[in-house]
């Protein structure tokens, strides 16, 4: 019955729930979905993580390559993030070249990582002007059920935190490169950027802020890319955006900052626990 009601009156169905202070999946407005995280699940990548936020599933794999640094920045390495939204993750996507949404989200994720300064690119340089690491961070979305950016950042940070760089010796005269995969040093990660998505739903008298929206809620609140995303690294904001959709009120903005601060602690605990479990499993 509810299914039919939803099809015939999609808007009223949603508003009925919201006006009773509950969301269609039973959550409260400020309640986020469960996070499940598994690190080092892929053996072909140097570091990897699978994360599930509710139904949204994202895999991140990091692979290493050596390259010459850019001439204008001889002491910096490269950090390349790439997000893929293959057609299998949602019925809305068609096979073919990356959609606009995929490209925008991709830029958003790489901007957040660059702005948060969680990786010092100087750490990736081996010999200035000669040799540097390229970190290819490939993120694949397997199931897109909303709040994609949050899941991507968690997967990416969990992978970066487990990444160990092999030691490299470079002979200046012969230009001989020796990589020793047995001696590894963990990559320095400064802080932990955490993104929190909100959907803003407009009721006649007020605006409602929905934390960690599902794909269905995103669709009801202005469609693709209309989320309000707050990203902070240790208290410093490093990416905040709201494109289109309903307007945001300044008091809900304060509320959102508080929620995102709480979420940071949760995510931190999830990542730490997951890495600890993995280390115990290995030893």
């Amino acid at each position: 019955m509810a299914e039919i009601y939803k099809l015939i009156h999609p808007l009223k169905y949603f508003t009925d729930y919201i006006s009773r202070e509950v969301r269609p999946d039973g959550r409260k407005f400020d309640e986020q979905r469960n996070i499940k995280l598994n690190v080092n699940s892929l053996k072909t990548a140097e570091a990897s993580a699978v994360v599930k936020c509710g139904n949204t599933t994202v895999v991140c794999g990091i692979q290493l390559e050596l390259a010459t640094p850019k001439a204008e920045e001889p002491d910096l390495g490269y950090l390349v993030t790439n997000l893929e939204l293959p057609a299998l993750c949602s019925p809305k996507y068609r096979p073919g070249p990356p959609s606009d949404h995929a490209q925008v989200t991709n830029y958003l994720v790489s901007d957040i990582i660059t702005n948060s300064k969680c990786i010092n690119l100087k750490d990736l340089c081996i010999v200035p002007d000669k040799l540097a690491w390229v970190l290819y961070c490939d993120i694949v979305c397997l199931d897109n059920d909303g709040s994609l950016v949050d899941a991507c950042i968690i997967a990416l940070m969990a992978s970066l935190k487990t990444l160990c760089l092999p030691s490299v010796t470079y002979d200046n005269d012969t230009e001989d490169i020796k990589v020793n995969a047995d001696i590894r040093t963990p990559l320095k990660v400064h802080g932990l950027p955490v993104a929190t998505s909100f959907a803003v739903y407009k009721l006649p008298d007020r605006n409602i802020l929905l934390t960690d929206p599902s794909a269905y809620e995103e669709e009801m609140c202005g469609g693709i890319g209309a989320n309000f995303i707050v990203c902070s690294n240790e208290g410093l904001l490093c990416g905040t955006q709201k494109f289109g959709g309903s307007n945001l009120l300044s008091d809900s903005q304060e509320e959102s900052l508080k929620i995102s601060r709480d979420r940071t602690n949760v995510v931190k605990k999830v990542i730490e626990t997951s890495i600890k479990n993995d280390n115990e499993f290995v030893s």
Binding site: P91, V140, D145, Y216
Partner: protein, 250 residues
């Protein structure tokens, strides 16, 4: 034919398996909520995901009255191989694999039931350790069942290779990446074991005609073994009482 040394003197393979032994297969149906059907399959270290959307209305240009249009896409995640792949899909190899997937799965699907419709099957390889195509077919088969699409039989794929032991030919089942890379013949068979028919057959390298039969029969045996595993997975899944309607989060 002095092929590479794939069998030890004890008759064990490079990864410690016996010649007629499959790698461990672990699979799960209904792993995602967005697609109509999905499955995850692990065959040794090869890990693949399959998602099925449809049947839905086909676009005008593709639509036929004869049967459903099966659209397959095989893609390998950039981190699936040791060396980074720059193009996860659309390169020659992926296109060829997509085509082969379609050929094998069209044989299994009762295409005549859905004229003017389309089924999309997406296969994503997360980790490739040899036999990614075979794992893809097996996973897609499970995803089709999860989506509730009528099939003639399970479509199962398996590969086989050839080795020598004390001068006797000994076919190897379910070839891993190390054995693939060592050279030697790899015969890939996609079949409907229930009906005994072969949907797709592909062989690389050279093999003497006299030995073809033994290698093929071993690959077919592998397909039959895989069918038993898949069937068990489907039954277990259904026994859980898990139907799609239960978890739909409105």
């Amino acid at each position: 034919m002095p092929g590479p040394d794939l069998l030890s003197s004890q008759g064990l393979r490079l990864d410690g398996r016996r010649p007629n032994e499959l790698r461990r297969i672990r699979c799960k149906l209904g792993v995602f909520t967005q697609p109509d059907g999905s499955a995850y399959l692990e065959q040794g270290n090869t890990k693949v995901l399959a998602a099925v959307y449809g049947p839905h209305q086909a676009s005008k240009s593709k639509s036929t009255t004869e049967g459903v249009v099966v659209n397959c896409q095989y893609s390998m995640a950039t981190f699936s191989t040791g060396e980074r792949k720059n193009r996860p899909r659309g390169d020659r190899k992926s296109q060829e694999m997509s085509l082969h997937l379609r050929q094998a799965l069209t044989a299994a699907i009762k295409t005549e039931l859905y004229p003017r419709s389309q089924i999309d099957i997406y296969v994503e390889v997360l980790q490739a350790d040899g036999g990614a195509y075979c794992a893809g077919v097996n996973a897609a088969s499970l995803a089709l069942i999860d989506a509730g699409i009528p099939l003639r039989a399970y479509a199962c794929a398996c590969s086989a290779s050839m080795a020598w032991r004390n001068g006797e030919p000994e076919p190897l089942l379910d070839v891993g990446h190390v054995e693939e890379a060592a050279g030697g013949v790899v015969l890939t068979v996609a079949s409907l074991p229930n009906t005994g028919s072969i949907a797709l057959l592909e062989m690389s390298h050279r093999l003497h005609m006299d030995y073809f039969k033994v290698v093929l029969s071993r690959a077919m045996q592998g397909c039959r073994d895989i069918e038993i595993i898949l069937d068990k997975a489907v039954r277990d899944h259904l026994a859980e009482g898990w139907t799609k309607q239960d978890v739909v989060t409105i």
